[in-house]
């Protein structure tokens, strides 16, 4: 007889002797959890049931069990709280979303185990030419994690949906393969975990922990730059997962080759799988995104207003969203009046005529230092080492292009270089910008840094 059958026969006999209410209260969610050497362990949902069983029904239960199995000597009761967790309901979106949105702590939405936020999924992910490669790779990973593209390396600028895509992959895999262990870790968190583990001498536990994962997702991997110990640990984890055909997904704001201060062996591993970039969305996609967002928020926005926004807000998707939110608020406060193009122009002044389009010498130089991870003095030396010369040339190019400084002034800033040297540098970078995709990306990223501060 199995445990279940024994307990079933106990229940059916007990039921005859007590009232249905008592039976429902005290015997619901009880079960035999184990039988060992004549000791039966019965799990009960709470301490009240435990007390009640021990004091009121113990004799009866023991008698019935003994009549089934003579070897049973005693019964023990343990409290085993039933999981009262309501199965995570798919949040049913209200027909009309309130325009005013009380923000909540997003940390609480996050799944404790996987660290994934369920709000990121494929249903609200918009696909366009700018991200279709990454999306296609994601879809093939979701079908067979660890098989096709391993590792998947996604890169692109801020606010273009890298995190969304990665978390959506994680969420989808979790849905389709509930047994797989998935873990999403921002690189910063990984670093602090490793630092803490070293301090508390529990690095082995952490290693073990990381190596049991089936799908490891690391966001903003470029933060590992210069963190040698973390890189080393990550390298070993990477290898061990990779050998076991576990899926690894990484993201960064730039191509692996452009991440400074990352060891070659890591770089080559990043390059070993699929590298997919996410670009700025084109005009048509921006318009599609705006249309969808406007529908989600249920505000009727005339086509010409949407076109105006799509034309003028080009930087990233996050800004597109915030433009729509602004329109929604304006519409609400003005008593549901339809927004015309002039209102939109006024409302979106802040976003479109970005006030931080102004920059200065210091900002540009600092951004270059941090981008290439070089110390401030080295760039101004006359060193011809490649790692200093190129940032120096780019700095000259940007100073000319963004600040319209004169060649000779730039030359003076860089330790009295001749204006022709500066001219040569600018020309060189300019040509490279036109012809070489990598250079263009590099410079766009630096520009983004300069203007996002």
């Amino acid at each position: 007889m199995t445990n279940e059958e024994i307990w079933q026969s106990v229940l059916s006999q007990i039921q005859l002797n007590i009232s249905p209410a008592n039976f429902a209260t005290w015997f619901a969610n009880t079960a035999i959890s184990s039988v060992e050497e004549g000791l039966v362990v019965v799990s009960v949902p709470n301490s009240f049931s435990k007390e009640w069983m021990e004091q009121k029904y113990h004799k009866d239960i023991l008698k019935i069990i003994k009549s089934i199995d003579e070897n049973i000597k005693d019964i023990k009761y343990i409290v085993n709280p039933i999981n009262t967790k309501i199965p995570t309901k798919k949040t049913i979106k209200k027909e009309k979303e309130e325009v005013v949105e009380q923000l909540g702590f997003s940390e609480l939405e996050v799944d404790k185990e996987t660290n994934l936020n369920p709000k990121y999924n494929f249903n609200n992910f918009i696909i366009g030419p700018f991200n279709e490669v990454a999306y296609a790779a994601a879809m093939s990973i979701v079908e067979e994690p660890g098989k096709n593209y391993n590792p998947l390396f996604i890169y692109g600028g801020v606010g273009l949906g890298k995190t969304h895509l990665m978390q959506a992959i994680g969420n989808k895999i979790k849905e389709d393969f509930p047994d797989k262990k998935i873990r999403y870790v921002p690189a910063e968190r990984l670093i602090s975990k490793i630092v803490n583990a070293i301090r508390s001498q529990s690095i082995e536990d952490l290693k073990k922990n990381l190596r049991e994962i089936d799908v490891l997702i690391i966001d903003d991997i470029q933060f590992l730059a210069g963190k040698d110990k973390t890189q080393e640990e990550f390298f070993h984890t990477f290898n061990s997962l990779y050998q076991k055909n576990k899926q690894i997904i990484l993201s960064s704001d730039r191509h692996p080759d452009n991440i400074p201060a990352i060891t070659e062996r890591l770089k080559s591993r990043f390059n070993g799988g699929m590298i997919a970039d996410i670009n700025m969305p084109d005009y048509e996609t921006r318009l599609a995104i705006l249309t969808q967002k406007a529908e989600e928020k249920n505000i009727g926005v005339p086509q010409d207003v949407l076109e105006y926004i799509a034309n003028n807000v080009q930087k990233n998707i996050r800004e597109l969203e915030s433009s729509i939110s602004r329109l929604a608020i304006c519409k609400k406060t003005n008593g549901n009046k339809t927004i015309n193009i002039d209102d939109a122009k006024k409302l979106l002044k802040n976003i479109i005529v970005s006030p931080n389009k102004i920059t200065n010498y210091k900002k540009i130089v600092e951004s270059i230092h941090s981008f290439y991870d070089i110390s401030s003095n080295n760039m101004f030396l006359t060193s011809r080492k490649k790692e200093y010369a190129r940032p120096r040339q780019i700095a000259m190019y940007l100073l000319k292009k963004e600040l319209k400084m004169s060649y000779s002034e730039i030359g003076r800033k860089f330790g009295g270089k001749d204006h022709t040297t500066v001219m040569h540098a600018c020309q060189l970078i300019e040509n490279s910008y036109e012809e070489n995709d990598k250079t263009r990306q590099e410079i766009d990223l630096i520009l983004q840094r300069i203007y996002s501060k």
Partner: protein
């Protein structure tokens, strides 16, 4: 069963125990109180199978025994009793209450069917001042989530460390944390953490002593927790409150508390309370008020299509960048009523990050609130 007790004492006991009984249709016995007569003490117990409360009161016992009677009825009756000595005894399942000019009989039930309230090993406990816990809990209990979607946050989180206790509550829109520093005796010799359901917490606040210096003890097991208060000048317990803990792990809430701020303002609390209340009147259905931080003052604006609008301002010491952020005014008031200092600090992270409200010169309380998106 036969004993004599002061009506005042009986009313007190009923006050503590009667609240948690209610209309329980599946198990009607839970709508009753168990009255037991013990040597020198009367004991009244009640439970809803989530919480159990036992109360002891001094009396003159002539004969021991027990009976179960309807809770609501008995407490209504006790409310009308004169302030004098009364005699209580039973005849089978009937309870007889007799005073100078009174003679009543209440039909009850056999005490055999009354649930048994779980017992605790009383050797290991945490001891602390009851009043401090009472005040601490009152300042966070209202922030507990009432929704059961995330059960972990539907209770107050207790975290006992060396020499201090943290009480935390959140409903995912705001979070309150109270730190109590006290001479705490922790015989467990390790950190103890548990989540107490909101309903129990409210009961607990009700039973904790108001007088200063009265100690209480907390007992802890895997799935249950018990709070014990004592009779005046005695080591005998007055009330034992046993509750289930919420099963689950409390979110790592420390991550929510902002460490830096873009804008920091210092405000006179009373003035701010007045203004927020006034602005709140114009907040309409959304309860939204807009706070605009200038260089030496703040403006508080609110408006509703149907009601009208208000524009208020008050002086403030401001630091960092100017900003405009909307909040639910009720959430702000909830923080302010729990702050005793005359000035508060209000730290803002732009219009989509958490804001932090703290009393000035008191690090024991903090309140994090999310803005309304504009």
């Amino acid at each position: 069963m036969n004993f004599t007790i002061l009506a005042k004492e009986l009313k007190k006991g009923l006050g503590f125990t009667e609240k948690i009984t209610g209309k329980n249709l599946t198990l009607p016995i839970l709508n009753n109180l168990l009255i037991e007569s013990l040597p020198n003490f009367i004991k009244i117990s009640s439970t809803d199978l989530e919480v159990g409360i036992e109360w002891w009161g001094p009396c003159k016992t002539e004969k021991e025994g027990s009976v179960v009677v309807p809770a609501k009825f008995l407490s209504q009756l006790a409310g009308t009793l004169p302030e004098e000595k009364i005699n209580i005894k039973n005849k089978g399942n009937t309870l007889l209450i007799e005073g100078k000019n009174i003679k009543t009989q209440i039909k009850g039930f056999s005490s055999d069917d009354f649930p048994i309230i779980p017992k605790f090993l009383k050797d290991i406990y945490i001891e602390m001042e009851g009043k401090k816990l009472k005040e601490g809990l009152s300042s966070v209990v209202d922030m507990v989530s009432v929704s059961q979607v995330k059960p972990e946050i539907s209770g107050v989180y207790f975290s006992f460390n060396k020499g201090s206790i943290k009480l935390v509550a959140t409903d995912s829109f705001r979070l309150a944390e109270k730190t109590i520093k006290d001479d705490i005796k922790n015989l467990f010799e390790k950190e103890i953490n548990f989540i107490l359901p909101q309903k129990t917490t409210k009961e607990l606040i009700n039973i904790l002593p108001e007088e200063e210096g009265k100690k209480i003890r907390i007992y802890f097991s895997e799935s249950q927790v018990m709070f014990e208060t004592f009779l005046p000048n005695s080591t005998h317990s007055e009330i034992n409150l046993v509750s289930r803990q919420i099963d689950g792990e409390y979110p790592s809430y420390e991550e929510i508390i902002p460490k830096t701020s873009k804008t920091k303002i210092i405000l006179n609390k009373d003035e701010f309370v007045k203004q927020i209340k006034m602005a709140g009147l114009f907040g309409g259905k959304t309860s939204e008020v807009l706070i605009k931080v200038g260089e030496k003052d703040i403006e508080i604006k609110s408006q509703d299509d149907e009601i009208g609008e208000s524009e208020l301002s008050m002086p403030a010491i401001t630091e960092g960048e100017g900003t405009k952020v909307s909040f639910n005014y009720r959430f702000i008031l909830d923080a302010l009523v729990n702050i005793k200092s005359s000035e508060i600090s209000f730290e803002i992270q732009g219009n989509d990050g958490p804001a932090l409200i703290k009393p000035v010169g008191d690090t024991s309380y903090l309140y994090v609130v999310m803005p309304i998106r504009i």
